[in-house]
């Protein structure tokens, strides 16, 4: 329906192979950038395209690249964040398995722009097959001369190494990723210094998402203006939405950023089984929920921010009326409780506290004061810690209470979950509030 930046050719047979990619003008952009453009021109082009980081924070990519020190002698690293751990997000996996060369080409262009000669792809530990496929693609690119020394007859040299994570969600945070890449505990670092000053192995580093890199060749090939025109005023290009949950046709969709939540659901065939929509989570599990009444909001960074949620990683989870919000939040919080790195006091204790609290309410042990406690604990956590993890925990917790307060009150009043018959508890213990380590 629109110009597709990343997924145009993914339905072809063996779309992940370099022959297929070269057939569709592959590696033309990297050759063009490395031979005819200066690094500053590349950065300017990306700046003009309004490309914003697709990992979740939506930071302008060109700006990020321009923060890298211009000192040519200093070793710099380019890191690709393929640690796609956000619940409800599966777009990077699609790129890696269907169009890995777009991402590799994007990395070559980025490395040229920032002057890095080594690139790391930090890939999620669970992505074993994907890591093998990436290594295959890198070997292909190396064999064809797109990676190595004196690229395209010039002075630029670049090579990529794949590094598999060990399965921690927090390693998707860029500084935790760098720590993990160095072989340390995956704990976010204090900022400043930012990775552009002190990154991997103490050297300036630039960390970008898979989707961000995959969009870069298009910008060089088709021009920044065209890319920018695909999106909104402040955010160019299209976006991959991973739609999951109670939807007729779940999957990854490349759509313009101007799409609204309702349009997206319609595009994907509507709510499964014709049921009524209850809520959506618009940007991966960390994004605060939007209730059915709010879904007309456009799914770009700024509109969602205004609506009190966030675009995050583009993983849209559709929730229908049959879902108990308390139970769902309970499951999400269990995930966060498990994944908090435990550095900051509030996050370590607060995520544990919230998870226990929600579990108790779900199991029928809640009291009226608990809803205030949730707000208090979220107040302790939000915005007080080193990284954004604490905010990610409070997002679903607070929005659930705020938007579905009646459901919580029902749980407390009925001393149990109204969505379940009898004493059936699918998650958590039957005995309310039992701590276990």
């Amino acid at each position: 329906m629109n110009d597709l930046v990343i997924t145009k050719h993914i339905h072809e047979k063996d779309s992940f192979k370099i022959e297929n990619y070269l057939k569709h003008d592959g590696y033309k952009a990297s050759a063009r950038a490395c031979t005819t453009m200066t690094p500053d021109q590349v950065i300017d082009e990306v700046k003009k395209s309004n490309l914003r980081g697709r990992g979740g924070a939506g930071f302008p990519t060109g700006m990020k690249w321009s923060f890298m020190p211009k000192d040519a002698k200093k070793t710099k690293y380019l890191v690709c964040n393929a640690d796609e751990g956000e619940p409800g997000t599966f777009k990077d996996r699609l790129i890696i398995t269907k169009n890995p060369h777009a991402m590799i080409e994007g990395m070559i262009i980025a490395s040229y722009a920032i002057g890095a000669h080594v690139g790391y792809i930090y890939i999620r530990g669970e992505f074993f097959r994907e890591a093998r496929m990436l290594e295959f693609a890198i070997a292909e690119a190396r064999a064809k001369g797109h990676l190595g020394n004196n690229l395209y007859g010039g002075q630029h040299a670049f090579d990529i190494y794949v590094y598999r994570g060990a399965g921690a969600y927090i390693c998707g945070e860029e500084t935790a990723l760098l720590n993990s890449l160095e072989g340390k505990r995956g704990e976010p670092r204090l900022k400043p210094p930012f990775p552009a000053q002190v990154g991997a192995f103490g050297m300036p580093s630039c960390v970008n998402n898979v989707e961000t890199f995959a969009a870069v060749p298009y910008i060089i090939n088709e021009g920044a203006a065209k890319f920018a025109s695909l999106g909104t005023e402040k955010s160019g290009g299209t976006r991959l939405y991973g739609v999951s949950g109670h939807i007729e046709r779940p999957g990854v969709y490349e759509l313009p950023l101007t799409i609204s939540g309702r349009e997206l659901i319609d595009h994907c065939g509507g709510v499964r089984g014709g049921k009524k929509l209850k809520a959506i989570i618009p940007g991966g599990a960390s994004a605060p929920m939007l209730s059915a009444a709010d879904i007309d909001v456009k799914l770009d960074f700024d509109s969602l921010m205004k609506a009190g949620s966030m675009a995050g990683s583009g993983g849209v989870i559709v929730i229908d009326e049959s879902v108990c919000i308390v139970e769902m939040t309970c499951i999400l919080l269990k995930f966060y409780e498990h994944e908090s790195c435990g550095q900051c006091s509030q996050c370590r204790e607060g995520s544990h506290w919230l998870s226990r609290l929600f579990q108790r309410i779900e199991n029928g042990g809640g009291t009226a004061a608990d809803l205030d406690t949730i707000a208090t604990v979220c107040g302790h956590m939000a915005g007080q810690t080193i990284c954004a993890f604490a905010d990610a925990v409070t997002g679903p917790a607070l929005s659930a209470v705020r938007k579905f307060r009646s459901e919580f009150e029902q749980h407390i009043h009925n001393k149990g979950c109204p969505f379940k018959k009898g004493h059936e508890h699918r998650h958590g213990e039957k005995v309310p509030g039992v701590a276990h380590v």
Partner: protein
């Protein structure tokens, strides 16, 4: 006397406070930049963090902290030190934010107090609150800050998290660990990583399951500075077995002194009650020990408190061995022995203070003009030149505190040159130096700190005049770096022992 000792400025990077910038001096020094701290305009040194700038103002403006320790790297994880900086969007951690000229900082604004109360609410949620049986109570930072900043009540209604295997775990003979009390500040982990470089403590798991453990289960905790872990542990998670359950900390009196356990001369605080020493704790001194002391030094108070220490004068009149007596009996005996001797040898242990050496020399020369003076170390080294550091931190092979000082007074070591023809030997030591074996002497007079076993092992002991141990007197030691350090009495001696000047008066 102290003029002869060079006060060398030694470069001790490992223990000096690397992160505390030094104000520039000299004629070109610019005026210091200023910032506003809680409405007061304060000067700071370029390179200071907000925490350090507040530290310079005084103890009253100290910002609460858990993970921050001036001797360790910055972690910024406890979030206790957050302060409000005007024009900053969020609260900033004082430990990691550099101070800037013209910065306006509020350390006790409503926002800050709310954040601190939040941190404490979270930390206390799973804390066992076993203060009545916790050894740290009274000097616990969690307790102190909770009284000052904490929420008045907790709404935590869940069952507390318990680590059954780490509730009372002996990391080593010296340290007992309780994970339930831990606030995961990781000072200990950074200490073993950065200071001792042994990496024998690590954090296991993440999030709520985060648990401190030893790096090597077989070896356990093995560094030589384990007492420091208990010192800076803000809560009662790591406790020092030697002090555990011995005394409530609020009964303890704190007196500064010098550790006489080795030639390093670490600055310590003697913690005592009713003149009984319970433990030593380090005092910060950038030139000597930084923030730390070793375990050997920390346990060296046991010599002072030794129940077998001889604290009454002994005299051997009948030749059957020394028996306890009074000063009135021992003083004339010693005086007559010295007068009747043809030649007297004084052996000074290298644990004697400068002042003691001086007055002994003066006094004994008057009493016996043929006096020869030698010094004796007897702890594995003979002279200060043989002293070697045992590790990259503080420990020294010379286990006496004043070898350099005794040498600086012109006294020669015992085995330099043949000494003969003496019939009386006076051995003076303070419990640290070894005891020379002088079998040829007819009369041996002991002076100072000796234990029962040591006296029993000697022959020909005619008299013993009990002295005071280092912590019981004032004096000056010169450490292995040539730095003269004076100290005052920390505890009163609980026996009949007297300091040298008082004994001299009796003759």
């Amino acid at each position: 006397m102290s003029n002869q000792i060079s006060k060398t400025e030694t470069d001790l990077n490992y223990c000096s406070d690397k992160k505390m910038p030094v104000p520039p001096t000299g004629p070109e020094a610019k005026p210091l930049p200023k910032m506003t701290l809680d409405g007061k305009i304060v000067e700071f040194v370029p390179g200071d963090t907000i925490m350090q700038a507040a530290e310079r103002v005084g103890k009253a403006s100290q910002i609460p902290r858990y993970c921050y320790h001036p001797g360790l790297s910055i972690a910024g994880t406890c979030r206790m030190c957050t302060v409000e900086v005007e024009k900053a969007p969020k609260l900033m951690t004082a430990c990691s934010t550099p101070a800037a000229d013209g910065m306006v900082v509020h350390t006790r604004s409503e926002k800050v107090l709310k954040s601190r109360s939040g941190v404490l609410d979270c930390l206390l949620a799973n804390h066992p609150l076993d203060c009545p049986v916790c050894d740290k109570a009274g000097e616990c930072e969690l307790q102190d800050y909770d009284y000052e900043y904490g929420p008045r009540s907790s709404s935590f209604a869940e069952e507390k998290r318990v680590f059954p295997k780490s509730s009372t775990r002996h990391f080593s003979e010296k340290i007992v660990f309780n994970m339930n009390r831990c606030v995961a500040c990781e000072r200990c982990v950074r200490f073993t990583d950065e200071i001792t470089k042994t990496n024998d403590l690590v954090m296991l798991n993440r999030g709520r399951k985060k648990e401190l453990t030893v790096g090597d289960e077989q070896k356990g905790l093995y560094n030589d500075y384990q007492g420091c872990l208990s010192d800076f542990c803000p809560v009662g998670a790591l406790t020092w077995t030697d002090f555990r359950f011995q005394k409530r900390v609020w009964f303890l009196r704190h007196d500064p002194s010098i550790c006489d356990g080795c030639a390093k001369g670490c600055n310590i605080e003697v913690h005592s009650e009713k003149e009984i020493i319970y433990r030593y704790a380090p005092i910060y001194n950038a030139k000597v020990n930084g923030h730390w002391i070793c375990d050997e030094g920390r346990l060296s108070y046991k010599m002072v408190m030794n129940p077998n220490r001889i604290i009454a004068p002994l005299v051997d009149v009948m030749g059957h061995g020394p028996v306890a007596t009074t000063w009135e009996a021992v003083v004339p005996f010693v005086a007559s022995t010295l007068k009747s001797s043809s030649k007297v040898l004084l052996v000074v242990g290298t644990d004697a203070t400068q002042e003691e050496c001086e007055s002994l020399k003066k006094f004994l020369t008057r009493l016996s003009p043929s006096l020869e003076i030698r010094y004796f170390n007897g702890t594995g080294v003979k002279t200060s030149a043989e002293n070697k550091p045992l590790d990259h931190l503080l420990r020294q092979s010379d286990k006496t505190p004043n070898t350099k000082g005794v040498e600086s007074l012109g006294i020669k070591p015992l085995d330099s040159g043949a000494i003969s023809g003496f019939d009386t030997v006076i051995v003076f030591r303070n419990g640290r130096a070894g005891i020379p074996s002088i079998a040829s002497a007819k009369n041996v007079i002991l002076w100072g700190v000796f234990s029962l076993e040591e006296v029993k092992a000697l022959k020909n002991v005619k008299a013993l005049m009990p002295g005071l141990a280092t912590q019981e007197k004032s004096g000056t030691f010169v450490n292995s770096d040539g730095l003269a350090q004076s100290f005052n009495r920390a505890v009163v001696h609980r026996g009949f022992g007297l300091e040298v000047a008082r004994i001299v008066e009796k003759f």
